[in-house]
């Protein structure tokens, strides 16, 4: 597929860093960290609503990437997708093990929340373009599909839980998730840096 836009971190370069990590080059972790930490921290914070815990998750993710670099499979997605999914999984695990979950509407009240958003962190134009494409794609989803995806991805709800939360039949929830994610796929695919023939 012809790529019209590169990710902030072209896949070749990200994959080269992961390959260097397999060879136990710690500098590669540092470079991967510099590229993606603000994005991953944003995801962890969105799920956990607490800066300290979000940073712990991000630290765990980079340690995992360091130890499991050899298990990264480019045919299963880009390095960024690998890291985002790992971040999301660890953050959701923490939510599930919390004795008293923080209601989502109360998140964002932690005292360290005043740390600057990463808008002023140096990013490439391509990074902003890629984020713009993703935001536009999500914004264009029908409300009920977007809501179902957010509840699954950020809240970690199972589909029966989403059905109960939104008072919607289970089959409808599954359909919304399928249609929503397929639409997102159509929109972001031209901008994906994943290369199948790598």
């Amino acid at each position: 597929m012809e790529k019209s836009l590169e990710r902030p971190d072209p896949a070749e370069s990200d994959r080269a860093l992961v390959a260097a990590m397999v060879a136990r080059d710690a500098d590669a972790v540092a470079r991967l960290y510099d590229r993606h930490v603000s994005r991953l921290l944003g995801v962890a914070y969105r799920i956990l609503g607490e800066t300290g815990e979000a940073e712990e998750v991000v630290q765990e993710v980079f340690l995992y990437a360091w130890r499991a670099a050899s298990s990264y499979d480019p045919f299963r997605g880009s390095v960024l997708a690998w890291l985002v999914v790992a971040t999301r999984s660890r953050a959701i695990d923490r939510i599930r093990t919390r004795k008293s979950a923080v209601p989502s509407d109360e998140r964002g009240r932690d005292p360290l929340a005043g740390l600057p958003a990463a808008d002023d962190v140096e990013e490439t134009t391509a990074s902003r373009q890629w984020e713009k494409v993703c935001r536009g794609a999500v914004a264009e989803l029908p409300e009920e599909q977007r809501r179902a995806l957010e509840l699954a991805f950020f809240e970690g709800l199972t589909h029966p839980e989403i059905a109960a939360r939104t008072a919607t039949p289970l089959g409808t929830v599954k359909t919304r998730i399928r249609l929503g994610l397929m639409k997102l796929r159509e929109r972001v695919r031209p901008y994906s840096s994943r290369e199948k023939n790598a």
């Binding site: 540092a30 944003g42 045919f75 985002v84 962190v121 359909t175 399928r178 994610l181 695919r189």
Partner: protein, 256 residues
């Protein structure tokens, strides 16, 4: 064969949703090694990761990087030549120091300029606020004075649809004009308010049109306490000692 059900299972898996009752179907799907599904799953993972781009990125605390690097344990550093190492180190340190000093100096200069600019802006805003308070005081003195009078002004000549009221206080020697429907003017023209004393027009100040046509204008100090009538004309910017342009608003003292 690829189906909606396959897309459904792959979507749930790509999002990381626990499959629960669907787990067996998903395992069967994986076992079938459907080529379309193998192509689709990574793309759905990319789509799921796109959700992560929607939330605002966050800058980490500086300590986090060091903590991450410290947690890695033993690592191999990329091989580097050791020839001339000390010289390179010294040169690099000197260059870095020079760059730091230059950057710091530039930062300080920029900071001073920003402070000067902010200071000037604050002074302007303070003057503007003082001026606005003074104008409001004046309006209040006119409108709330015991001797306040009011006169209706009707559209005249080229602007028959314009309307206005003028409030004036002989005690305060000021008038306040409130208009509606006044047309915009070319940049070289302004409206001029006239007060008639002894049958003759006296300049009471100039004002610009507002795109909305609604204007609240305070007159200059009125020369006489005996205002017989008011009028508004279109004049060259800055106004004239005597009216020269068309009358667009004219009072009707008998109706006031």
């Amino acid at each position: 064969m690829h189906s909606d059900r396959h897309e459904e299972l792959l979507s749930l898996a790509a999002l990381g949703v626990p499959l629960e009752d669907d787990a067996r179907d998903y395992e069967q799907l994986i076992a079938e090694r459907c080529p379309v599904c193998e192509e689709l799953f990574p793309e759905l993972r990319e789509a799921a990761a796109a959700l992560g781009a929607v939330v605002p990125a966050r800058a980490p605390r500086p300590e986090l990087r060091a903590a991450v690097m410290a947690s890695l344990g033993p690592a191999r550093r990329p091989a580097r030549t050791t020839a001339g190492w000390a010289g390179w180190l010294f040169a690099a340190a000197a260059a870095a120091l020079f760059v730091l000093i230059a950057l710091d100096d530039a930062r300080l200069r920029r900071g001073r300029e920003e402070l000067r600019s902010e200071n000037a802006d604050l002074r302007l805003r303070e003057e503007s606020a003082r001026s606005e308070i003074a104008r409001r005081d004046l309006r209040a003195r006119v409108l709330e004075s015991d001797d306040v009078r009011m006169l209706f002004l009707g559209g005249h000549g080229p602007q028959p649809g314009a309307r206005a009221k003028v409030f004036w206080s002989p005690g305060a020697k000021r008038g306040v004009l409130v208009t509606a429907g006044l047309a915009p003017l070319p940049p070289d023209r302004q409206y001029q308010l006239w007060v008639f004393v002894g049958g003759k027009p006296v300049d009471a100040g100039v004002f610009d049109a507002d795109p909305s046509g609604k204007i609240l204008f305070e007159s200059k100090e009125l020369a006489s306490v005996t205002a017989e009538n008011f009028a508004v004309t279109v004049e060259p910017r800055g106004g004239l000692p005597q009216p020269s342009g068309p009358i667009v608003l004219l009072g009707s003292p008998s109706a006031g």
